[in-house]
Amino acid sequence: MTHTTFSTKLRPIRDYLRLRLLLGTVLLTLVASVLALWLPRLLGDLVDGLVDGSFSKSALLKQVGIYMGVALIGALFSKWMRQLPMRWGPRVGHQLRIRLHRHLLQLDENQIHDRRVGELMSRLQSDVNSVADMLSMGGQSLVRAVFTLGIGFTIMFRRSPSLALMVSLLLPLLMFIGFLLIHSIRFRHLKVQEQLGLISSFCQESFGGLRILRGLGLGKIRTERFKILNQEFIQRNLSLSRIEVFAMPLIHAGFVLGNVLLLWMGGVQVIRGQIQIGMLVEFQQYLMIMQWPALSIAWTLSLILRGRASQGRLQEILDAVPQVTESKTRVTSAPESLQSIRYEDVSLTLNETRVLKNISFEVQPGQRLGITGPTGSGKTVLMQLLLRRQDPDVGRILLGGYDLRDLSLDLLYNQIRIAPQEPILFSMSLEENIKLAEGDVSDENLERALYVSALDRDLPQLAEGLKTRIGERGVTLSGGQRQRCAIARALLSKPEVLLLDDSLSAVDTSTESLILERLLSSLDRQTLCLISHRYAALRHCDQVLVLRDGEIIERGAPDDLLEAGGAFADLAERQRLQAALEVGDE
């Protein structure tokens, strides 16, 4: 395992900027803007030439050729001017994700659960995107707006100050309108989304609670209420629409108005012989070219605002620091295998609840320990402490005589394997899932693991056997199959300590006893810890702990406990009766 240092600062934005890229963008934009803004002049001259008939056909051809040539080169630059900075977005996104993933993978599971996976997922997507958008789209449109407007106004004022003045009054007005619209659209859009959420949860509730609805004969009332929700949805949509429908027409109207003003003011100048018609055409083209960059400023601002907020949220993720860490003087190799377990007065508090209270016990190498107790009594937590899912608040845990905190995580995890009740399978092939931790596995070992977990019986039913892909894009395994897969995974490397955390709960009784039988005979000198509710499993243990509310209430060999007649004896009796009832039920 690599030992990453936790430099938890998100790199400042300027770290993602590359000078070459910045210069490139500026240069390309400069050329593209100049070329684009050259076209109106060329067109104006063409029109003037046509008006006074001064062009020969060949001259006309040549002029048009130049016009199209400039346009073509301009279009190519316009493409590159966009492509260069826009490509940067995916790249920044990628870099951010790598960084966030690396950090998240170092955290403890408890920290992830605090933040909830769903929320984290949405941050990883939308926040990363908006930071990337801010840098790529925002940067691109900002640079472009600056150049197009700057160069454009310079040219215009040099060509005709009076017409330029008119245009320069109009554009800020359009910008301002654009800014107002973007804000109010965004607000109303959120309102629409909110109502859509209500509609969708109303559907969920109604479809899911259909039996109750029918039982109470509520179909009509629900439909009525759904209608009301829809009515409100329409209202909100229309309220959004009342602003939204203005956006494009208003911009367009501004443009048309500009043209009318141009024609009028410019027209008067043409009539007075101050300018030629070509100049009118030229300015009309300027207006067209400069309209969008002007409007994009408002949009760029909102991109930047959003991007900054997202940046802050991503930083929060990076601020979390893992709690389970390795000590500097860690033990990386042990002379002999680590098989004995010893809990010394261990206590743990989670979310202000004491989940474990003064737990002490000892397991000798090769012994089998059974743990049982009602749901929420602390069994799983107790077992997971051995894997340092978290460290106890009080007391210590020894493995092979070493305090867990002194062992390197590598060494620790090489000694112990766990098969949890709700195993995580990854979307890879079944074989890869089983071989998760082990690179090279002999066929013999793999077969043994498949045999013990009774997965060998399932393989023929899977289309591609061991190569069958598991998960979202593949086969969905049953709960029992998943658990058995986890058992095979845990057994594969013949660990010194094997932990089974209720890992047969979803397996049917007959398969369970088969697996237990195979498992127990395949273990030689390994230590086994077994959480189970079933007497049939627990009775094979050397020692059984019964937990309740984080405390050990009974301990001893199964037979002794049966005799003592406590909670364990009750459990056994109950299951004996249940088995008796179920005979013939299969």
Binding site: V51, R87, H101, I112, N237, H252, W264
Partner: protein, 614 residues
């Protein structure tokens, strides 16, 4: 559902469960025109709006296209060298006149455009609302068995994302497409009127632009699909890595997962980069085709109509009205495709068979005595697995009946058949001597009260939820009901009492409290027969349990009651105990009688004694 039997051969054909458009066995889905027609059917109530919208659209087309004509007139009439004979003052006055006209036209264009857009949103939203209501109503009237097959998740997709896609279809696919076609055709006609030879030169641009845009749109969409699939792989890996963090750690797999994430993130980056590469062609292509259009125009003008300066300028002005619709059309024609796929799914749902209608002349049911009889009832959820077999039983009015048996014995099915969530396959169920299928569903259910396993409450206030029991129940009745089931006390303690909101993000009730509210609801409903699917759940503390027990007593009071019972204390006091096993009634009688007979019941009781839930 009948499809099922015809498919007998295909053992594991999952499609039989899906809402698919492929009816009639042929592989081809129905034609697009079919779905367009059905969409139009939904638009029928708003045809006035559509007609007005069309008129507004035409006005918009006209006002938009008149503008360049006015420009032509201004240039030819007052600005071009040809107009030099007129006195300067007249020319300025004429120009002013035209400018005012143009301003008016711009205003008209603005108004028509906005009102058209707003009206079309209005129509579109209403059509969509009707569709959504129809989908909702449909789901509410599907047979329970079909709901089980279709799964809530898929129904939700129909009601949400498919309808969203339909919204896009209506807005962009139909309304936008039509508007842009008309705008384009309008512009084509008007420029033809100005100067047909220039117009011809201009038309050349259309196929070029549409072709180029369609090409890059297609490429971009392909890249977008790749990006979507890359991001969903990345997301599921991320999800896995976050929820499997502990597993990854103890199996020393964090580095490997990190590498995998880096690879997938990089694939996503590459796909996004391809999207960028294609998308950034869009504007340059517009720029270059526009420039070519201008070039061709100028050339054509120079060749054929050198004197027509006004026409040339007007044409330059028209470019805008030409390009915007073209650009949007290239996009919208593709949205049409994806929208229709959703339309197909939504209409397939609307074609689903509903619960059989109530009998034409239903048996009236004003009051129920409570005599219930099952005669030779057979039932199966899936053909191969019969749940109830030749079940016959009789319950007298006012009896308290406990149904006992192991899990899967068919206890809850018994109750589900009685209130007709499912209908029997053969045999019949009688209520007060009449077949329950002879009543209307609502009549029948009005007289049957259901105590559910999972007390589900709906969003709304506490009072709303209790009030669901009887339409128009007043606060007093609601409180009285709550009092009788011990719910009043804790409701009063809540800050807003009966007006406490239970919706999303609202007040969180404990399971026990939910139970009590559900009981109050039933008390208000005041049915003659109570079907009790479960007793108090295990997840409540003993104090609440006692409250619920008392509440149940209050609900049961004097009514005929069939309860699925797990608790010996309840079963002992039953007037009749029905012992079920494998869908059959194996024993019946009172507690004492059954104990004496020393059969299956006896072993059940033994199991219950030690607290085993059977």
């Amino acid at each position: 559902m009948s499809k099922k039997s015809t498919r007998s051969g295909g053992a594991s054909a999952p499609t039989s469960n899906e809402i698919s458009g492929n009816r009639g066995g042929r592989g081809r889905p129905r034609s697009d025109r079919h779905y367009l027609k059905r969409m139009l059917h939904f638009a029928k109530p708003y045809r006035l709006g559509l007609v007005v919208g069309l008129i507004l659209l035409l006005l918009q087309v006209i006002s938009t296209n008149v503008m360049p004509l006015l420009i032509k007139k201004a240039i030819d009439g007052y600005l071009s060298p040809g107009a030099a004979e007129l006195p300067e003052a007249d020319r300025i006055a004429g120009l002013k006149q035209l400018a005012i006209w143009m301003g008016a036209m711009a205003g008209g264009m603005f108004v028509f455009r906005i009102s058209h857009a707003y009206l079309m949103t209005w129509v579109g939203q209403h059509v969509l609302r009707d569709l959504r209501m129809e989908v909702f109503r449909k789901v509410l009237s599907l047979p329970m068995r079909r709901i089980d097959q279709l799964r809530i998740g898929r129904l939700m997709t129909r009601a949400t994302s498919d309808l969203d896609a339909l919204q896009d279809l209506i807005r962009n696919g139909f309304i936008g497409l039509l508007a842009n076609m008309l705008l384009l055709v309008g512009a084509m006609i008007f420029i033809w009127l100005i100067e047909w030879r220039l117009a011809l030169a201009f038309y050349l641009v259309i196929p070029v632009l549409v072709g180029l845009l369609t090409f890059i749109n297609r490429r971009s969409r392909k890249a977008q699909r790749e990006a979507r699939s890359a991001v969903s792989m990345l997301n599921s890996s991320t999800q896995e890595s976050l929820s499997g963090l502990f597993t990854l750690r103890v199996f020393n797999q964090r580095d490997r997962m990190r590498e995998r994430l880096v690879t997938q993130s990089d694939e996503f980056r590459a796909a996004r980069t391809r999207v960028v590469d294609w998308n950034t062609w869009h504007f340059p292509i517009l720029e270059i085709t526009r420039a070519f259009a201008v070039g061709i125009l100028v050339l054509a003008c120079g060749w054929w109509a050198p004197a027509q300066t006004g026409s040339l300028v007007a044409f330059l002005y028209f470019i805008r009205y030409f390009f915007r619709p073209l650009e949007e059309l290239a996009e919208q024609s593709q949205q049409l495709q994806s929208g229709l796929a959703s339309a197909e799914r939504v209409f397939a749902l609307l074609d689903e068979e509903e619960i059989p209608p109530d009998p034409e002349q239903p048996q009236r049911l004003d009051h129920v005595e409570g005599q219930i009889e099952f005669k030779d009832v057979n039932f199966a959820y899936e053909e191969a697995h019969p749940v109830l077999r030749n079940l016959s039983l009789k319950i007298q009015p006012g009896q308290f009946v406990a149904v006992v048996g192991a899990t899967g014995a068919g206890k809850s099915t018994l109750l589900s058949l009685l209130n007709r969530f499912y209908d029997v396959e053969s045999g019949e169920i009688l209520l007060d001597g009449f077949n329950i299928q002879s009543f209307t569903l609502s009549d029948l259910r009005k007289h049957l009260g259901m105590v559910q396993q999972d007390p589900m409450l709906f969003s709304g206030t506490v009072a709303d939820n209790i009030g669901l029991g009887r339409e128009g129940a007043d606060q007093e009745a609601i409180e009285a009901a709550a009092c009788r089931v011990n719910a009043h006390r804790f409701i009063e303690k809540m800050e807003k009492g009966y007006q406490t909101d239970l919706g999303e993000g609202g007040y969180r009730l404990s399971t026990g409290q939910k139970q009590l509210i559900a009981l109050a609801r039933i008390l208000l409903q005041d049915p003659e027969v109570i079907l009790m699917l479960d007793e108090a759940t295990a997840s409540v503390d003993s104090e609440t349990e006692l409250l619920i027990q008392e509440g149940l007593e209050a609900v049961r009071n004097g009514r005929t009651c069939i309860a699925i019972a797990h608790r010996l204390s309840t079963i002992q006091h039953a007037d009749l105990i029905l012992v079920m096993r494998h869908g059959k009634l194996v024993e019946q009688g009172t507690h004492q009688q059954l104990l004496l007979s020393d059969g299956y019941y006896r072993s059940l009781v033994e199991a219950m004694r030690i607290g085993l839930k059977v």
